[in-house]
């Protein structure tokens, strides 16, 4: 049996081997690059310089980090559950890694096109949760346990809005196949028709990635690093690798599903280099915004986090699916369909803003200022 690769027919095994290697190398390089870029970008946001010492402009910082982590002692607490503790990195990393199978970089540039691509991706990436719980439970550390449980509660809560928002787009695109979804956006990206779904996706994606403002499982100032307090050296770096790989995958999927991937705005007939450039630009934009949000907003509290997911995002995403269903099932004229979809999305965004505003802005004036008068003290009594 053969499979096409770069215009050649190749045995499946060889083809897979080559593609896997590409993915492994790509992932490693991307993660290292992302870590470097994140540090540089965050530094600029904070008016710092970021890494400058290792290599020109600190470019080799991630390499140095990786080398340090490999050559660092791997300590296991005496009280830890050995199996659970040691296996947790696998369960964190492998599910993220198999997500790369369906991630499309450009047309024809992916490991495999699965018909249930989107579904597969979501299913695979949620397994990684198990690893977090294992890490938390196995470490025999209070912070780790709290962090692990928090990550479960958070991830499962945001799994639903994430799934449903992607489903809403899948309804519009009428496919779960990522390549088809992208191809369908040659005219206009889905974000135009599903702005609220995009917003929900973006929020849920940040939450799934445990990044600020949803980083309560690893909240530095509360649980000191959460499930991986006790991890060190190479095992700890596996968590790190998984985190950035997941960020990369999610940003890629987001740009493919909502921003038109490589198809928009030039169409699919453009050459492969241009497609890659487009994908890169869109993914970078997503990642930049994630960094930007990280550097700006405070961490949320667990009850607010849960309430936000269950009381706001979930009902809104259900509503979006119902609206989509109603609009699409009656075969209306194309313009009207799109107008209704976009209108409902925009309305949803406004509802969201309104609810958020209403929930936090109790009437709270600025502090009372007591000016200097001769009887100030008595006057204020």
């Amino acid at each position: 049996m053969t499979w096409p690769l770069f215009g050649m027919d190749m045995p499946v095994v060889l083809d897979l081997f080559i593609r896997m290697n590409i993915i492994v190398i790509l992932m490693t390089v991307m993660v290292m690059g992302l870590i470097y870029i994140e540090r540089k970008v965050l530094a600029r946001f904070q008016m710092r310089l970021g890494p400058t010492r290792t290599g020109p402009m600190g470019l080799l910082q991630s390499v140095a980090d990786a080398l340090k982590l490999v050559a660092k002692e791997d300590v296991r607490p005496t009280n830890a559950d050995p199996w659970v503790f040691e296996l947790a990195p696998y369960f964190v990393f492998v599910p993220i890694f198999i997500g790369f199978v369906v991630v499309p970089f450009a047309s024809g540039l992916e490991v495999r096109v699965l018909d249930l691509g989107l579904f597969y991706l979501l299913a695979a990436s949620s397994v990684n949760l198990v690893g977090w719980v294992m890490a938390g439970w196995g470490s025999d550390n209070r912070y780790a346990i709290i962090g692990g449980l928090r990550s479960v509660a958070q991830s499962i809560s945001y799994e639903l809005p994430l799934v449903l928002s992607l489903l809403a787009v899948a309804m519009v695109a009428d496919s779960l196949n990522l390549t088809e979804i992208v191809a369908g956006q040659a005219g206009a990206p889905n974000i135009l028709w599903q702005p609220m779904a995009f917003l929900i996706f973006f929020i849920a994606m940040i939450a799934e990635l445990n990044r600020p403002p949803f980083d309560i499982p690893v909240g530095e100032s509360e649980v000191v690093g959460g499930p991986f307090v006790e991890y060190s050296g190479i095992r700890w770096s596996m968590f790190f690798l998984a985190e950035y790989a997941a960020l990369f995958i999610m940003a890629l999927v987001g740009s493919a599903v909502f921003l038109g991937g490589w198809a928009w705005p030039f169409g699919e007939q453009l050459g492969l280099p241009w497609q890659i450039v487009l994908t890169t630009v869109k993914t970078s934009m997503m990642i930049f915004v994630v960094f930007w949000v990280r550097v700006t907003v405070p961490r949320m509290r667990i009850d607010q986090l849960m309430a936000f997911a269950w009381k706001l995002l979930l009902p809104l995403s259900f509503a979006q699916i119902l609206v989509n269903g109603a609009v699409l099932v009656y075969e209306l004229p194309s313009g009207l369909t799109h107008a209704l979809l976009a209108g409902s999305g925009v309305a949803g965004v406004f509802i969201m803003m309104w609810v958020i505003n209403r929930s936090v802005s109790r009437p709270r004036p600025r502090p009372v200022l007591i000016p200097r008068t001769d009887q100030t003290w008595e006057a204020t009594r």
Binding site: A170, S175, V229, W310
Partner: protein, 124 residues
């Protein structure tokens, strides 16, 4: 290439990726084992407790808030799995399928509303 081959061709990749992922982790761990120093010291194994000795074993029973969300999640996630195939095929089936799903989601929404009302979504 027939259908089964197609399926094998695609999902073999998933299998291969799983193995590759494990190999990746194992390689890293072996590399670390070879490169990293290793010393046995009695106090190194104490778990981190902000500089104090651990008060007692950490693995106790924990507040059930977390589990309540887990239960809610299982319900809703199973429903979401049902919605997936529906979402891709209801247009062909027609409005009837939509109304059926409306009822389905309505029941779900009632469940959510019930949980909300009961205070299951409140943390305290």
């Amino acid at each position: 290439m027939d259908h089964l081959d197609q399926l094998f061709g695609t999902y073999a990749a998933v299998f291969a990726a799983t193995i590759a992922g494990f190999i990746l982790v194992v390689t890293a761990l072996i590399a670390s084992r070879l490169l990293a120093p290793f010393s046995v010291e009695r106090n190194k194994g104490t778990s981190y407790e902000c500089g104090m000795l651990p008060l007692r074993r950490a693995q106790t029973s924990i507040g059930m808030r977390y589990y309540l969300y887990a239960i809610l999640f299982i319900i809703f996630d199973v429903e979401a799995v049902f919605i997936f195939p529906w979402a891709l095929s209801y247009v062909e089936v027609g409005p009837m399928a939509y109304y059926e799903m409306l009822v389905f989601i309505g029941i779900l929404a009632a469940g959510l509303a019930y949980a909300w009302k009961k205070g299951a979504l409140k943390w305290q």
